[in-house]
């Protein structure tokens, strides 16, 4: 029963993210939108660029989907509603999402097209910018929870959510998470106005379905990580636990997707400079602050 609820709610949430994504990018709410797009792409030709690295071209989107799904596996929707409660869950989340980078490099390099290749290597630069800002805030969350398990992390926030306990970490993680899911304004590798689709540019048909699905699951996964690490996961005043998780996750996803549309796309040089000159010192300061806080006010 619980695994059924789990699968159903994950599918529902992914679909929800896709609906929100279309909504914010076209300003039009179409509940059937993702379904129609999927059907259209299913009927589309699958073009394989000639002289391409076919292995990379095929594996790229699949690896993106697998990485995103695996990262989602350690995210609890409620106590007991989790695919695997790994003892190193927070670390595993990060490990799985590191392969998003590998997938993007493969997908960008594979077709031997200029836009895609530039997009793929750009994402590596983006990772160098955001990765430390994912890792360091996760450490402070683990410090408070005394565990890397995501369930323990949620339980540690029973008194006070981490967003209030370590707001600096939350902000850093939010931005880094948006960069990780390459949503605007961090959509450097798939920018339409700058690279005409970038990494996505050569994908059509069923491969594009996989790519887009992987992307949606990735956004879902990042937003649910934000919920679990900082917004108290399933904790809520009344009602069933999983519904709180769902509301928060979709809310964060909507925030991530719509917030970035207000900002111009960030230049790679700016992103790198900011995250290394400002972000990492702040993240280190956050570790120190939380370190003191945990010893002094152990809530």
């Amino acid at each position: 029963m619980s695994s059924f609820v789990l699968i159903a709610s994950l599918i529902f949430a992914t679909y929800g993210v896709a609906v929100i994504e279309e909504w914010v990018s076209t300003n039009r709410l179409r509940l059937a939108g993702p379904l129609i797009s999927t059907l259209r792409l299913l009927g589309q030709e699958n073009i394989l660029p000639r002289k391409s690295d076919r292995l990379f071209f095929e594996v790229g989107p699949v690896l993106l989907l697998i990485a995103a799904l695996l990262s989602l596996a350690v995210i609890p929707l409620a106590p007991g509603l989790i695919v695997t409660d790994l003892a190193t869950g927070a670390l595993f989340f990060n490990a799985a999402l590191a392969y998003v980078l590998v997938a993007m490099i493969m997908a960008g390099w594979g077709p031997d097209g200029a836009y895609g290749m530039i997009g793929g290597w750009r994402f590596l630069g983006q990772l160098i910018a955001y990765a430390m800002l994912v890792v360091m805030p996760i450490t402070t969350v683990a410090m408070r929870a005394e565990s890397l398990s995501t369930i323990d992390i949620v339980n540690s926030q029973e008194m006070l959510w981490n967003i209030a306990y370590q707001p600096l970490g939350f902000l850093l993680f939010l931005f880094a998470g948006m960069a990780m899911a390459f949503v605007p304004p961090f959509d450097l590798p798939v920018a339409s106005g700058e690279l005409a689709g970038g990494v996505e540019a050569e994908y059509t048909g069923v491969r594009l379905i996989i790519f887009r699905l992987g992307r949606m699951v990735l956004i879902l996964s990042v937003s649910s990580a934000i919920v679990v690490f900082y917004l108290g996961g399933w904790l809520g005043p009344f009602g069933p636990d999983w519904s709180w998780s769902m509301i928060k996750i979709l809310g964060v996803a909507a925030l991530m997707l719509s917030g970035g549309r207000m900002l111009p796309r960030i230049r790679e040089a700016t992103l790198l400079a900011w995250s290394w000159k400002l972000g990492i010192p702040l993240a280190l300061a956050n570790i120190f602050l939380v370190g003191v806080l945990v010893l002094v006010v152990p809530l």
Binding site: D53, L55, L86, L91, F92, A95, V102, I105, W121, L124
Partner: protein, 189 residues
């Protein structure tokens, strides 16, 4: 138990196979990512052996690090796409021997080394991380801090190499040609 061994073997073979692919492909990116997947398979082996933290850490760190290696290979190797089908192997004999000796040494170490008694009780994954943390802050604190210093040294070295304009022979034709020409004439004579 037996399933565990089968998976261990399978991941081990995958690691070896990807390791072979590293040298068999002409494309630099393929080569770098094959090395990555070889390392990932090693990480999976750790997982099968229930060393969760080590396994996940291996899987995580290799992904970014090998990707960075890939970009460096693309930057500095000829023909990174492998379109020219050129052979990147050099000094075959030497490397063959070095490989055989290293393999022999490693397997000798594995077979004849003293690995202590076989652990019957494996602490669960959470406990493993905790024990590791206590070890880091206790007995191995000095090692841990000197690792920090080592990393600092590496950072300084890497920065100073990368930021300085790389030294290279002057590209102006007369200067680069001169020494060659001198010897070439000698050779022709």
């Amino acid at each position: 138990m037996s399933v565990q061994v089968i998976f261990l073997l399978a991941f081990g073979l995958a690691a070896v196979w990807f390791g072979i692919v590293v040298f068999r492909t002409h494309s630099m990116v393929r080569s770098a990512l094959a090395l990555l997947f070889s390392q990932t398979a090693v990480g999976a082996m750790f997982l099968v052996m229930q060393a969760e933290f080590l396994g996940v850490l291996q899987i995580m760190m290799m992904a970014t690090e090998m990707s960075i290696m890939a970009i460096f290979m693309v930057m500095f190797m000829m023909d990174p796409g492998g379109l020219g089908e050129m052979d990147m192997k050099h000094q075959r004999k030497l490397s063959l021997w070095a490989g055989i000796i290293a393999f022999g040494g490693a397997s000798g170490l594995a077979l004849f080394g003293d690995w202590g008694p076989i652990a019957t009780q494996i602490p669960d994954a959470g406990e493993q991380v905790r024990l590791l943390g206590i070890e880091l802050l206790g007995r191995s604190m000095l090692i841990f801090e000197s690792a920090g210093l080592t990393i600092l040294t590496a950072m300084i070295a890497a920065t100073s190499i990368a930021v300085q304009p790389p030294h290279r022979p002057k590209e102006t034709p007369d200067k680069s040609k001169e020494p060659y020409q001198v010897h070439n004439h000698g050779g022709a004579a």
